[in-house]
Symmetry: C2
Subunit: 337 residues, 2 copies
């Protein structure tokens, strides 16, 4: 199942949508609200590190797999995943800290620059800790860092490898149809062009809590069904694409006062679900999936299709696949032959 607690590195809407149904955020607030400050301990005894599943020194997060309860019961022990993440600074707390005389160790000093190790008081040193216990093999796989491999997919590759694979998957996108049919999340819709052929629904992405504009993230989902991805776009889709770009930008300016030149508007290839949709993210926000190996600016897509209506059937498209994704094996085997 999707992990309802860890926010980082998620991609698939399916996971997001589950994550919003967990008590996660509510639970957090409640805990703060009624001040659940009682000290406690982990739901297991001991923790013998088996493996660092994943870590990021940039994000200050680490995913650990450990054996626990090895003393109790059968000496075999159980599996647990512990995720530690340092917390962002709170401005007011930091201001207080610097007003006082924090505990410092000088690292070095050079001209007007100096660096220190600062040891903050307890409130500033907390670490967000997530425990999955007992953890199954699926959890361990899910958190294990997977190597990425770049694929260069020609138009022929798409017809011969990717498309047959997608057709064999029968991935449900019922949740997309529920949005388009107003059976779900109707209250979240920011803008709609109801045209069946060239219209779309604009809705906040579930990764965005809508509390600050720094990480603004909305999705435009087209009403028209059967357009799997960028790869299937042709000149006939230009009216739809122009509507999404222009009306989407206007709606975001009206609702959030974010001008179009502050927005990154793009499609994913490969997308995480195969009903055409477009991402709108704040330009200053390095959104996951906005890298050159996955994102295609909608304005460029439109210009490419104006230039050659068959552009995306002909051209080679690049994308990264995780080492454990079946499609990667299919490409690797096809290359051999």
């Amino acid at each position: 199942m999707a992990d309802p607690l860890v926010q980082s590195g998620k991609r698939k809407r399916e996971e997001e949508s589950e994550s919003t149904q967990t008590p996660g955020p509510r639970g957090d607030k409640a805990a703060v609200g009624n001040g659940t400050a009682a000290s406690t301990s982990f739901p297991f005894s001991g923790f013998r590190l088996q493996k660092v599943l994943k870590e990021s020194s940039r994000d200050k997060i680490i995913f650990l797999h450990g054996k626990v309860n090895e003393t109790s019961g059968d000496g075999d022990g159980d599996d647990a995943v512990v995720i530690l993440e340092k917390t962002p600074f709170q401005v007011d707390q930091v201001a207080q800290l610097l007003l006082g005389s924090p505990e410092l160790q000088l690292q070095f000093s050079n001209d007007i620059y100096s660096t220190y190790n600062l040891f903050p008081p307890r409130p500033l040193s907390d670490v967000k800790t997530t425990v999955v216990y007992p953890a199954t093999e699926k959890h361990l796989q899910k958190y294990l860092r997977q190597d990425l491999h770049l694929i260069r997919e020609t138009g022929e590759d798409y017809k011969n490898i990717t498309l047959p694979y997608l057709d064999s998957q029968s991935l449900s996108i019922q949740w997309v149809y529920n949005i388009l049919d107003k059976k779900a999340e109707a209250d979240r819709i920011v803008f709609e062009n109801p045209d069946h052929s060239d219209g779309f629904v604009l809705i906040p992405d579930l990764k965005w809590n809508q509390k600050q504009l720094d990480d603004l993230y909305l999705i435009a989902i087209c009403h028209r069904r059967g357009i799997k991805s960028l790869r299937e776009l042709t000149g006939e889709h230009l009216p739809l694409l122009r509507n999404i770009l222009q009306e989407g930008q206007e709606a975001i300016q009206q609702r959030y006062q974010v001008r179009e030149d502050r927005l990154r508007v793009y499609l994913h290839y490969q997308p995480s679900y195969y009903h055409l949709h477009v991402h709108f993210t704040a330009l200053g926000f390095e959104a996951p999936g906005s890298g050159v190996e996955r994102a295609h600016l909608l304005a460029d897509v439109i210009e490419n299709l104006e230039y050659d209506p068959q552009y995306y059937q002909k051209r080679t498209l690049t994308f990264a696949l995780r080492a454990d994704e079946p499609l990667l094996k299919l490409f690797q085997e096809a290359k051999k032959n």
Copy 2:
């Protein structure tokens, strides 16, 4: 001047190259080596927060501008910048921590998932602190988060706005020529194709410490002079570009055992210096500047030029500019007229 201490968010080679000449890292090691553990205090008294210049909740870093020494001397006080960044986890320390019984506060628990606030012992709670004192207006500007604005530059815009601006700048790229002429960093060269027209030098980027492959980052600098950027590439440059892609990938596989499908190979537009160069970064590393609004995959560039030798003179290119960059004003004024 460039900031020798803060590692995050740097772009320009000029800064990098200065940064490597500071005692920064050596200083760090020395301090560790001879155990400079003596407590100390900031080189100023008091700290009245004036402004949060920049912060990132993802990176757990915050840049603060404060008034200091307001009591002493003329009551006017001085300016200081304090940069706080949480430190990455050390696996061994964390393993020790979990073996013991760390201090925990339960946030909430749901099925097999639970979250806690963990309050680590002193060694795990240190914060990397950088002080710039006294700070000049230039420092404050340098650290101040600047809004980004997206530009869509047509071929005409390049001729009429961007190129005249670049020509007016007379930016020195002597340091590039020094590398190509072996007057500097000759010992760092990983690979060279000496051909004057279609050759290049492959060298580790200064952002990469070469200690781990996770953030592998090399730069290919072409020998041929006068190619400012992607915008000036035509079909005649295809042999050069193919050499860089193929020989660069081969050299990296030989030296670092990183296969080509684990590499992101791309150009920047706009680049940070106007002598054609190509970036090679580890696919798993979200390198600064690898976003869709700045990066162009070399393989795509080659295919576009095969498709139309004038592709990059004709097409609209998108890039982001900081609010304080003069080129942005030029584009905004040009739009008005």
